[in-house]
Point group: C2
Chain length 132, copies 2
């Protein structure tokens, strides 16, 4: 699979490494060159320093042949914008955005874009552990 990930924080870099190790063709984009160092030198994918929702950057990342697009920056607005471009302009089949704000989650549902809310996952898990 050709996978494009925007946002090279802890989550983005971890999933990039994981997918690379599992034989996928991974490109990770961040506008902060420092953050791109979150993926080790052993990472066998491509790192691009650029604006996460800029069409030229996305073309350089091979978005026209991407199977999966993940928007994982900590910025809900950036993520939804990148997801919309990936889905509407480049017709990427599988698009998933990260959200923190619950209200933003419904915006994704309205656009029929998959969503992941790490805070909600962690709160649910904490709840289970606290009250079990």
């Amino acid at each position: 699979m050709h996978v494009i990930i925007v946002g090279c924080g802890r989550l983005g870099s971890t999933i990039a490494r994981y997918l690379g190790e599992n034989g996928h063709d991974v490109v990770i984009i961040d506008n902060d060159g420092e953050r791109l160092n979150n993926v080790e030198s052993s990472f066998n994918g491509i790192k691009i320093k650029g604006i996460e929702f800029d069409t030229d950057t996305l073309m350089e990342a091979g978005i026209d042949k991407a199977d999966i697009f993940l928007a994982l920056t900590p910025d809900d607005n950036k993520n939804i914008m990148a997801c919309k471009i990936a889905k509407d302009i480049f017709q990427v089949k599988k698009v998933i955005g990260r959200v923190s704000n619950l209200n933003m989650e419904s915006a994704y549902l309205d656009l029929s874009i998959d969503v992941i809310n790490p805070i909600k996952l962690a709160v649910n898990s904490l709840n289970e552990k606290m009250f079990s």
Copy 2:
């Protein structure tokens, strides 16, 4: 329940608000006064600016009567230190620490302290969504 949370980032502030709304007695500690603003003014618990594993700070938070202690800063070392103090010195019954580094997870297991790894939860969830 008397719950003490250290670390008032996105996760800490979200669970603090949630537990407060559910009738628990919540104290949240952060060494950064700015971050304490992550919980809204409507939060009915107590906020303390102080070092997360400092005994005086923990006493001020009522750790001697705490039922649950959550260490949720982004710093694995800080969290495990705070958890050890809560469990060994103050014998808090339910202690849960947040980790990012997989190696640190086994250190928690060795100490018989519960652990939550939000990155792992998010990676697992992304995996399910990507390949389902």
